[in-house]
Symmetry: C2
Subunit: 364 residues, 2 copies
């Protein structure tokens, strides 16, 4: 892209969830006008946007009108249908681009792409049938996670295997995924999980936030702690892996890259677990601990603005408020050094992300 | 008020300018639904609110419908007509209350109220006619500012007097205010101007932000610097003055109190210049340098939530972007440690507040 879209430009965001909402709020801070497109009339992003379209992602007429009303489009989730991405790319500018979506929508394609860059990933096999699963496991693949190739998130569409299951058990585990094409990923004996959230601009400039150390519970992110307990060399390596992936995709916007830190025989290795071509839950800490947060950074990148300063002024622990966790809002609101974020969702469900809190402390 | 309004409550904000916009964005972060009421279809606050009413403040039917749609009302400006405040108070909860509005709408009433609390203000006289002005000045009142009693802001409705004007000049200066009731305020030979922005809750709890040191140009705030160059004792005294004023008003919400710091014969004295019963331009630095910003603090207070932590994690200089200043947005966006805020106003006019930038540095 040559030049940047000025303030008062109109950005379209596909997706009406909390990420869309936080993107919209960041855009508003910059004087940018937001149009939210999503299927859920109660989606939390609609309430904070100048314009709002409630329609399905397969509604070509609605997508065409949406594209005509904006200067640039982006999205809050990687499962944007390819047809919607194509329509938007044809009629307006779309960032991140179709390639990032295509790669991240298929776990086999994603892993192949990453390992093709010389970046280590966990061992994996393509599993199309129950027979495939039995064969691979009986060859001694070991402890593993069987995941659907597409449309999984927050631990949904995943089954754990210890490696000692008999054939019947394997077939029934495979059946739990209802026959969807799958990937078998070796369990990694990691010391910790980290992620790098970073931004890349149209001109290729790249700025990572500090790596976060993540703890998941029941497949859902529970906390992100920054700084992570990794040494400077590992942090730099994590940033370089992220840069390599984003460069290879010609990526524009913010991306999250989850990695395993493996400590073996005194050496530290990083394996990429997965990438998300969007703002990322493990980057929510940036909202209160950095000069520029991931949401503003994404908006800046997509508009062609200079990237903001990702420098961190505080140490921070981000805790997700999941389901009834958010019932403690008043207690959290009274805490010292706590920054509370609630997403305005009217219905509380187990496993649903209702908000998060960033607890700050002086920079160590 | 007993108890607090929960998240998902609906707050109504009277006023559609940038303060309303920033209040709306802060409310959205807390999962609170916002209804903006204001006369200007292009007012920047409308674009970020779940609901929006474009109507005049004297439109009783619109105000009544507005009141019925919300759980609590607040405002972004002190010149809310008394009739509108009365309607809202009768039909819903209004915070800050009518008393704060009444006191701050009349400069004579405001000065009398403050000095009645034993808090020093600059010498002042009520000026109803040109004769009044001539008489007071000829008695040797000295260098002074003649201001309209009501509806002045950003230096509008003000005339400076050196104290050596002849009668004709005084009469013509008075005529510049088109016969509006006026106040004559003695010029204060201040060393610096500071302000305290603070919050008070329904239960009387009070939390000030650190005092800011302000520089005005052409009657408009240019910069706020924190920390201010005052000693700890003066900072504490400024906080106590603010508390005294807010307590006396039974105030709920955020207030800005502007003060002159006078240094005479080795002693430091504080004089209150004016109070604003609302979030304040000299508190915009809190958006990026504090755990909780003034906008969120106001929303919390009005909803009956616990006040947030006003602790400051960084030093900061806030610079207003006035008129064509905002044309430098791209250069500012590229600065290190700069947090840029643009208000989404489509028309640039000289003297119009278009945005601001908070430049952070490590806490001294």
């Amino acid at each position: 892209m040559k030049g940047s879209l000025p303030p008062l430009s109109r950005i379209g965001i596909l997706g009406d969830g909390q990420l869309g909402r936080m993107l919209a709020l960041a855009a508003a801070r910059l004087g940018v006008s937001v149009h939210i497109f999503g299927p859920d009339a109660n989606g939390p992003a609609h309430a904070v946007a100048a314009q709002s379209t409630i329609a399905g992602y397969d509604d070509e007429a609605a997508l065409t009108a949406f594209a005509a009303s904006i200067d640039v489009a982006t999205y809050e989730f990687e499962n944007v249908p390819a047809s919607a991405a194509r329509t938007l790319s044809a009629k307006t500018r779309l960032a991140p681009g179709e390639r990032a979506l295509a790669v991240s929508q298929d776990r086999i394609g994603e892993k192949s792409f990453i390992s093709g860059l010389g970046v280590p990933v966990a061992a994996f096999r393509q599993i199309d049938t129950g027979d495939d699963l039995v064969k691979v496991m009986q060859e001694g693949f070991g402890p593993a996670i069987l995941k659907t190739r597409r449309f999984g998130y927050d631990g949904k569409g995943q089954v754990r295997l210890s490696g000692s299951e008999d054939e019947d058990t394997l077939r029934s585990k495979h059946a739990e995924l209802t026959g969807a094409p799958a990937i078998l990923e070796a369990m990694v004996p990691f010391a910790r999980e980290i992620s790098v959230v970073a931004a890349r601009a149209y001109d290729g400039s790249f700025l990572p936030f500090d790596p976060a150390e993540n703890v998941h519970r029941s497949g859902i992110l529970a906390t992100s702690t920054v700084p992570a307990s990794i040494d400077a060399q590992t942090a730099e390596a994590a940033g370089e892996i992220t840069r390599k992936i984003m460069d290879a995709l010609g990526y524009v916007g913010v991306m999250g890259v989850e990695m395993f830190v493996v400590e073996e025989e005194g050496a530290t290795r990083l394996l990429v677990n997965e990438i998300a071509p969007r703002v990322h839950n493990s980057g929510h800490w940036t909202m209160d601990a950095c000069v520029t947060c991931q949401f503003e950074q994404h908006i800046r990148a997509v508009l062609g603005w200079p990237l903001g300063d990702p420098a961190r002024h505080s140490d921070v622990v981000m805790e997700n408020l999941i389901g009834h966790d958010a019932g403690a809002w008043e207690k959290i609101a009274a805490e010292k050094a706590a920054c509370l974020h609630l997403y305005g969702k009217s219905e509380t469900r187990p496993g649903r992300k209702m908000g998060h809190v960033n607890r700050l402390s002086a920079k160590s």
